[in-house]
């Protein structure tokens, strides 16, 4: 057996030697670098994963609270109208928004939505006149004519009128005739659904903006002016507007309009 053991040991060493020759070594510094990279990744990924999970959970919880138990149909969002700025303005109290003449009709989600505060007794989240504090000039854009030198917007201004049903708050309504305002050549157009995607304003080209308005006339925009021209047009996301009659009291446009 001793003889067999000696031969076995020699064969085993020969096998290990053959492996040594085949092994492709990297350097110790390379191993250290890889270990450090992995450690850093782990240190970053784990908190990131936790944060993502927490945010996702919080968002889901918030959405469930906002839409879930108040909707008559599962998966149908509550009628809302908002913009990031409007939410940030911290308004309190309901108001209604009326689309302008020829404006888009409320979508299916809005079809069952009554005026603010109706239905299940909870006030609906709808845009308030305080939007006009964020955007000094609110208007329903009816058409866009693009020209090499810039363009022209056909707008109907959005007026803020008192809401008798909700003292202390107002509602936005279309007011006055169609007006034309010049569009600056390098104007920025930011859109949400339905012209764009989602509820967060995202930039598009003026050509796309013109085409989008043609498809969806009467969308509500906040307009910034500079040098007598509209330099920034930001669509205010509307979800579930309730029709209302136009009223007087248009906001004052910059001098010259």
């Amino acid at each position: 057996m001793r003889d067999w053991e000696g031969k076995f040991e020699a064969a085993l060493r020969s096998l290990a030697e053959s492996a040594r020759d085949q092994a492709v070594p990297s350097s110790g510094s390379d191993i250290r670098r890889r270990a450090e990279t992995r450690r850093r990744k782990r240190a970053f990924v784990l908190p990131s994963a936790l944060l993502t999970f927490t945010l996702a959970g919080g968002t889901a919880f918030g959405l469930t609270a906002a839409f879930g138990h108040s909707s008559p149909h599962a998966g149908t969002p509550r009628p809302t109208a908002s913009s990031p700025q409007a939410i940030a303005s911290g308004h309190a109290g309901p108001a209604t928004l009326a689309p302008g003449p020829g404006s888009r009709q409320p979508g299916p989600a809005a079809a069952g939505a009554g005026p603010a505060g109706s239905g299940n007794g909870r006030p609906a989240l709808q845009p308030l006149c305080q939007l006009t504090k964020v955007y000094p000039y609110m208007a329903y854009v009816q058409a866009v004519s693009l020209q090499p030198s810039g363009g022209v917007l056909d707008i109907i201004t959005a007026a803020c009128t008192p809401d008798p049903q909700h003292p202390g708050s107002g509602k936005l309504v279309p007011s006055g005739p169609v007006r034309q305002v010049p569009l600056a050549p390098g104007a920025t157009a930011l859109v949400t659904a339905p012209i764009g995607q989602g509820t967060k304003p995202s930039p598009i080209s003026l050509t796309q903006f013109g085409f989008g308005v043609q498809q969806h006339p009467g969308a509500l925009f906040g307009i910034a002016f500079g040098g007598g021209q509209a330099t920034r047009i930001t669509e205010v996301y509307i979800h579930g507007a309730s029709p209302s009659s136009p009223s007087a009291g248009p906001p004052s446009l910059p001098a010259g309009f």
Partner: protein, 169 residues
Amino acid sequence: MRPPLAPEEFDDLYARSFHRLVGQIYAMTGNMADAQDVVQEAFMRAWDKRSQLTLTQSPEAWVRTVAGRLAVSRWRRARSGLKAVFRHGTPEAVASPGPDHAALVAALRKIPEMQRRAIVLHYLCDLPVAEVAEETGVPEGTVKARLARGRAALARYLSDDMLEEAANA
């Protein structure tokens, strides 16, 4: 208490022992690619735990133990992952032993994993029974039994001619 392993000390340890450890783990696993991978992984873990490594008398033994455990867990995963092989086909080819060593590798694969480990530590790493017992975490008597059973099993699969052929390869 010594300070943590310095980068130069680690590099030196790696340069001295990498090939030797790959050979030892290859003898345990019979798979060259796995042997390289687990040894490199063990060294990476060694760098992560370099403060503990200085406390051990032999960093190389620490790396070998970790690499051996990694190899075992890989083998177990591979065994339980046979379904994936059937679904996705065989993994890419790995270096196989030369014809002179094929019989030896095949015989080593036939004996139980713990017997193989004891055999390799004792005959290839030159560890006495007591140290094999320490490294594998079992009593010396168990190591002796594993060595005896492993030798007997291997003797059935490996003739003297086969061994001589492998030794002279």
